[in-house]
């Protein structure tokens, strides 16, 4: 379908004699096409800028929100580890545990991984399950952060994983 403003296509001669007539090559750069695109840019560019701006703003907000979530999760994880280690650090000559924190910010979940340092046996879930459960409860009580709820402990290699979920609504429920 022809559109106003578009150049007419060239009509090529068609032989009727039954044998092929060599056809002239169509010029690669038809002058009319360039003119069509350039004329369309006047509204594409602002649209693109607006879309990019919106996308950038949304992305920025998303990154910001993600960063905020990660910060909340990381702070909690670090505080947890610090409180967990505090009694074990007393009179220790070297760090008593190895620790890591991993996040799933979209699911508001932080996994705290703790393993015994060299020469230590705690924490582990093989012979210290009750002690570990007591310790997690102790730390959660000390941190007094109602927004975080811990799940059942499980082992991953030499690590004991303390899964915790951030539930901001619980803080509001608890707030008076």
């Amino acid at each position: 379908m022809l559109k106003p403003g578009h150049a007419q296509p060239e009509l090529l001669p068609v032989s009727t004699s039954g044998f092929g007539v060599p056809q002239p090559a169509v010029p690669y750069r038809a002058t009319g096409i360039g003119a069509i695109e350039r004329s369309g840019l006047w509204w594409i560019v602002p649209l693109f800028v607006a879309a990019s701006g919106a996308g950038f703003a949304w992305g920025w907000k998303w990154i910001d929100a993600r960063r905020a979530r990660v910060d909340v999760l990381r702070t909690f994880g670090e505080k947890f580890i610090r409180e967990f280690e505090k009694p074990l650090r007393r009179n220790a000559t070297s760090p008593p545990t190895k620790s890591r924190v991993r996040f799933a910010p979209r699911r508001l979940r932080v996994d705290i991984l703790i393993a015994p340092a060299a020469g230590r046996t705690y924490p582990n879930l093989v012979d210290h399950k009750r002690n570990m459960e007591y310790d997690v409860e102790r730390v959660m009580r000390l941190l007094r952060n109602a927004s975080f709820v811990n799940g059942p402990l499980y082992a991953q290699g030499s690590w004991v994983v303390v899964p915790c979920r951030f539930q901001p609504d619980r803080q509001q429920e608890g707030a008076s």
Partner: protein, 557 residues
């Protein structure tokens, strides 16, 4: 000095049994050599086993048992509940207070394993402190990693230690965790015995010193135990054959043994400390022991607050050895108020019916002695004389300021500052008008002592400048050359590191070491700049005492 050895709960009781057995062995040995002395020693020590469970005291002589809280616990224990044990103690508070009141020194032993020890050791120590007793609490922190207790018991034990810190009571904390060595597995009783032995042997040495106050200044003890922090006890046997001196290697091993007690919690630098030497050897050996312990203490930190108090345990029976009680330096504190007058009360009671008992020498021991007479001890001249002598010991009254004029020498003044005498501290804070004379020899001697280092920061700038003036103006320092060949260096050119390295070099001549010690101390207290004020004079060459010279000596005449 009347000493009460008190255990609280089952774990503390086990340690006390071990300690008592060792002491009883000593009494048997002493009995052979000097029965009167053994008798005095026996009476100086009282043992009591406090518990909420009377069945755990079944093997303890009746007169040594003290079951607390009969109504609260029905005499069957505190059900692993420290709070219940505390209530039991409250119920029997009067009996315990009465027991404490009869002694000047209270050594209380407990463990944080279950209920009684964990719940009562701190309140008992606090009661003793309130009665102005010298209290030495020994608390065992159990291991949860090795399944001695659950983690929450372990955490409770940590809180007990924190209570001591908050109350400013020094604590000897034993860490059971350190009794396990994976490379050398051992049965539990062996591990406990290995941990109890240094405590028992260390306390034995300490008891000999505390018992006879002539060997140690009570005001020094008031400083040693002041403030919060940990205590570390150490003991090493040093028992040469009769008529022989211990060799250098034996001394080194003994010092190392005293220094290291891996079972004691102790994180900070060593501050004021007591070194008790037991053994009839020469003062040269004493000097080596003191010097090597000081070298270890000073190696810890460049500006070590190590401040040793030395005591000799007179006539201690073999095996001889060295006992050390190191106090963790956590700051400077006013001396404790200790009421030494309990000795007088005991002496008066001994004239009538006595309620002191002491450690009995059991009949089955190898030496036949009179059977245990824990009550109704007939008074003897010996007992009365000891008690009388102790009663005359100075009573520390820190709140009563002394007149500044009482410090006739700078040495007296420095010692008074060291024991936080209020009048001395007031003078130390200013001192611009003070007329206390300063003699250069006295100042040099002071600067060579370890305890003066803790006095120095308490002196005003005026005092500090005055001391430096005296030292630099009146003391000439020979510019000794130390080292050989290319490494030879003059005193005046030495760096701080070189000085600190060389000062502990055992090959240095005594006079060179004394000068180097002075220079090092001045640099440490006033800074390297102060050394520029010294006038180093050329040193007279040391006599040629090389081996070659010694060989040529016969041909010189």
């Amino acid at each position: 000095m009347n000493i009460l050895l008190l255990s609280s709960g089952g774990g503390g009781g086990n340690i006390l049994r071990s300690l008592k057995a060792l002491f009883r062995r000593d009494l048997v040995v002493t009995q052979k050599a000097d029965p009167k002395y053994a008798e005095r020693l026996r009476r100086a020590l009282t043992t009591r086993f406090i518990d909420t469970n009377e069945f755990s005291l079944a093997d303890v002589p009746k007169e040594e048992r003290l079951v607390i809280g009969s109504l609260t616990t029905k005499r069957i224990g505190s059900m692993h509940n420290p709070e219940l044990a505390r209530k039991a103690l409250d119920e029997s508070r009067k009996e315990v207070e009465s027991l404490l009141s009869r002694h000047s020194v209270v050594i209380v032993v407990g463990t944080g394993g279950k209920g009684t020890g964990a719940g009562t050791i701190f309140p008992i120590a606090q009661m003793a402190r309130q009665q102005k007793k010298l209290v030495i609490p020994i608390f065992v922190r159990p291991s949860f990693e090795r399944h001695e207790v659950e983690k929450r018991r372990f955490d409770h034990a940590l809180k007990v230690a924190e209570q001591f810190d908050a109350a400013g009571i020094r604590l000897m904390e034993i860490l059971n965790d350190r009794g396990y060595i994976d490379a050398h597995p051992e049965p539990q009783p062996v591990v406990w015995e290995r941990m109890n032995l240094p405590i028992a042997r260390g306390l034995r040495g300490l008891i000999y010193v505390l018992w006879d106050l002539s060997q140690v200044d009570p005001s020094d003890l008031s400083i040693l135990f002041a403030g919060h922090g940990r205590l570390r006890i150490g003991f090493s046997e040093l028992d040469p054959p009769a008529g022989h001196e211990p060799g250098d290697e034996q001394i080194q091993a003994a010092v190392r043994g005293c220094w290291e007690n891996p079972f004691c919690a102790f994180d900070g630098p060593v501050g004021t400390s007591l070194v008790c030497i037991q053994g009839d050897w020469s003062n040269v050996v004493d000097g080596k022991i003191k010097g090597q312990i000081a070298a270890l203490a000073l190696r810890q930190a460049a500006e070590s607050p190590y401040n040793p108090l030395y005591a000799r345990a007179v006539r201690a029976p073999r095996p001889w050895g060295v006992t050390t009680l190191f106090a963790e330096h956590t700051g400077n504190y006013p001396p404790l108020e200790i009421d030494w007058s309990a000795e007088k009360k005991v002496a008066l009671r001994l004239n009538g019916t006595s309620d002191t008992d002491g450690v009995p020498v059991e009949e089955e021991d190898e030496v036949a002695v009179s059977p245990s007479s824990n009550v109704e001890v007939a008074p003897t001249a010996e007992v009365i004389s000891v008690a009388g002598a102790v009663a005359e010991a100075p009573v520390v009254v820190p709140n009563e300021p002394e007149a500044p004029a009482s410090f006739s020498t700078f040495w007296d003044f420095a010692r008074a500052v060291n024991r936080s005498d209020p009048a001395a501290l007031a003078l130390a804070a200013d001192g611009a008008e003070s007329e206390i004379p300063m003699d250069v020899r006295e100042v040099r001697k002071l600067l060579s002592t370890f305890w003066f280092r803790s006095v120095f920061p308490r002196l005003s700038k005026h005092w500090q400048n005055r001391i430096l003036d005296v030292v630099t103006q009146h003391a000439t320092i020979p510019d000794h050359t130390i080292g050989k060949g290319r490494n030879a260096v003059h005193f005046s050119d030495m760096t701080t590191e070189q000085r600190q390295q060389m000062v502990s070099d055992p090959t240095l001549a005594d006079e060179v070491r004394a000068d180097l010690q002075l220079v090092t101390t001045v640099a440490m207290l006033w800074g390297d700049e102060a050394l520029k004020r010294f006038q180093f004079v050329p040193a007279t060459p040391a006599p040629d005492n090389s081996r070659l010279a010694a060989l040529l000596q016969p041909f010189r005449h």
